[in-house]
Symmetry: C2
Subunit: 376 residues, 2 copies
DNA sequence: CTGAAAGCGCTTACAG
DNA sequence: CTGAAAGCGCTTACAG
């Protein structure tokens, strides 16, 4: 904390005007009438002295801290967290806001039943015992202007209270009553795009590799897959493997089952890159080369996996950075429209969550369907 | 920004005391003499009203924001960033501090030559063009009490100025003149531990897989490897492969070269998990099973890779979370000792960077040396 | 043991 | 077109 200790008063004295005028000029206050010469003089003086406003003082007086709180689940274990932070921070900074981050321990998926709550305090003055609340409260106690809540796994979230509190935007989650703006990835569309790439390459027997334990993501991906097939006049997957565990070893076992069947698929759509990695091993053991004998598409674009596999895995990228940026911008829009008294919530991002498109990243795992002549 | 709008004045009125007394009690001001009854009354009243201090007001008055700035390079692309943030945020929160995060674009490695600068402003009042400066300045403008600077890749950093500015702690980097406290991972020791595990399993011909383009990390890892061998009475790697690219395909080609040589090593120490992934593929193509015919150890413990490989990769974990926590605690120590007028810098973490130990994570890629009877 | 008062550095009605 | 003054909600000497 220092900022150089040159204050608005120094600028005023040096420029021979009042602090009011300095404040008006430097903040471009709309209705302030100041002569161009005075404006110039103030600006020059401020620059010469290296003046920067004390944001704390400004925040205290104006009741706006210019800080966004980001509550992010499992920052350490999900590889997406970094991209979300990047997108949110850059967007916020571009608009003059800063980002305060707290980690929230990941919650179990809970599409039904008791919901994790995005509320601020159980009883006023009590310390929160719920880690979600503790995190959000610590943000609120810091006078953030609004909160970005990024769920580790997409799911329904209950903001059972934000009463009299700050605005919030959900990221990779939706409020059960749709009461909060939310942004999610269009995983359904991403899956469809992956299938279409496979169809375009000529595949008609396409298998699905998913996880036995469903969650919102795998459901959307599997649905996108099935609907795309249907649109192409193909009914359903030619084989479906459900991995017992959502990792490469689960994918391996499930892929072995699929590929060992009679008339196996010539391509595999995998609901995650980890599963796809398992499919690579299964293919190798069965003497199937990728993409010569088998095409594979993953989901997630985990670079560490996808780019390191051989051949590189063609997969669907989830736009985490864009989602972070969208959420930050949406929150700031709301804050600034509220400040401008222009009504509480602009129409953008109304009841339905905004879906941001997933992009297919083409590497080397998709080829033409195997003609039957298997390489030795 | 709201915090419920119940202020210290409300508590004072309700409890029938002055705001001074409330402040003294709630902050446990050392030299304040307040009767136990009054203390109790103030505490109860504050709790009942759900009072929480406005940190902005406190910060403005006390000139301490209670916020740590974390400038982190490449938050989106390095998988370590999340763990650093987690460690730093938790440690900070535990001591009543919050964490403000800015992303810094990664810099090229620069052990010599012009250094990236951790300074605050080129010319007062000018906008910084250097992205590092821009990030650090945006933190400083927010009145953070101190700065944590986390480099993406360990390297020497020049804090060519922090003049009159806040204290800083370096993470995964050192200042050229050792002027700033710093914490790094003991990669040298981690590599030695990996080698020792291989030696303990009985290996004597151990190859080294590293990258052609050296950086501080690979140098330390290779040195740790060589010195551990030497201590065991073995002179040097039985083979060294330098990967043209620091990824799996580079590791693959280099591993092929090593393993194709006459009298190849029975174990491979790889300077990264990506390289190790390439070694797996090389081994598979050569008909070598892991760990039956070849043992492999990686470095980094990238779970997405290490746990998904088959067999699971035994590898060295870098304590990023602990480093984040250490750095935050070190910074807070400095802030609080400065506040207590107890001299500027406590002896902890003096000129030399503190090295935090790397842990060997055992999965399934290390076994006994191949006896020569190769599986069919 | 307790309180009245100044002041952190700004912004914001308000007066002229 | 410009400025004097109040006040955001605290902490901190200081007085009693």
């Amino acid at each position: 904390m220092s900022s150089g200790s040159v204050g608005i008063r120094d600028v005023a004295r040096e420029a021979g005007v009042s602090v009011t005028t300095v404040s008006h000029v430097l903040n471009d206050v709309p209705f302030a009438r100041v002569s161009p010469e005075t404006r110039e003089k103030v600006r020059t003086t401020a620059a010469r002295l290296g003046y920067g406003p004390n944001r704390l003082a400004r925040a205290l007086r104006s009741r706006r801290s210019g800080v966004l709180g980001l509550a992010i689940e499992d920052v350490a274990t999900t590889p997406h967290a970094g991209r979300i932070i990047l997108g949110a921070e850059q967007a916020a900074r571009a608009r003059g806001y800063a980002l305060m981050v707290v980690n929230i321990p990941a919650q179990a998926e809970a599409d039904a039943g008791p919901q994790p709550a995005l509320k601020s305090s159980p009883e006023p003055g009590q310390h929160a015992t719920d880690p979600i609340q503790a995190g959000v409260e610590s943000l609120l106690a810091r006078q953030v202007d609004g909160i970005l809540y990024a769920a580790g796994h997409r799911r329904v979230l209950q903001p059972s209270a934000t009463p009299g509190k700050v605005p919030a935007v959900l990221l990779d989650a939706v409020a059960p009553d749709r009461s909060l703006p939310a942004v999610v990835a269009d995983e359904y569309g991403g899956a469809a795009a992956a299938v279409e790439a496979l169809l375009a390459a000529g595949h008609t027997r396409i298998g699905l590799l998913t996880t036995a334990e469903e969650n919102h993501s795998t459901r959307q991906r599997a649905r996108g897959f099935r609907d795309a097939l249907q649109r192409a006049g193909l009914n359903g997957a030619s084989a479906t493997g459900e991995a017992a565990s959502p990792d490469a070893s689960g994918g391996y076992a499930a892929a072995r089952r699929i590929l060992a069947a009679a008339n196996p698929p010539s391509a595999l759509f995998c609901c995650s890159d980890s599963l796809a990695m398992g499919a690579y091993r299964a293919a190798a053991e069965l003497g199937l080369s990728i993409p010569g004998n088998l095409s594979v598409v993953g989901f997630g674009d985990e670079e560490l996996l996808a780019a390191n596999l051989h051949p590189g895995l063609t997969t669907v990228a989830v736009p985490h950075s864009e989602m972070g940026a969208w959420a930050a911008n949406r929150l700031i829009d709301e804050l600034e429209s509220a400040a401008a008294e222009a009504g509480p919530t602009p129409p953008t991002g109304g009841p339905d969550p905004v879906r941001l498109g997933c992009r297919l990243v083409t590497r080397g795992s998709v080829g033409l369907p195997d003609t039957g002549k298997r390489q030795p």
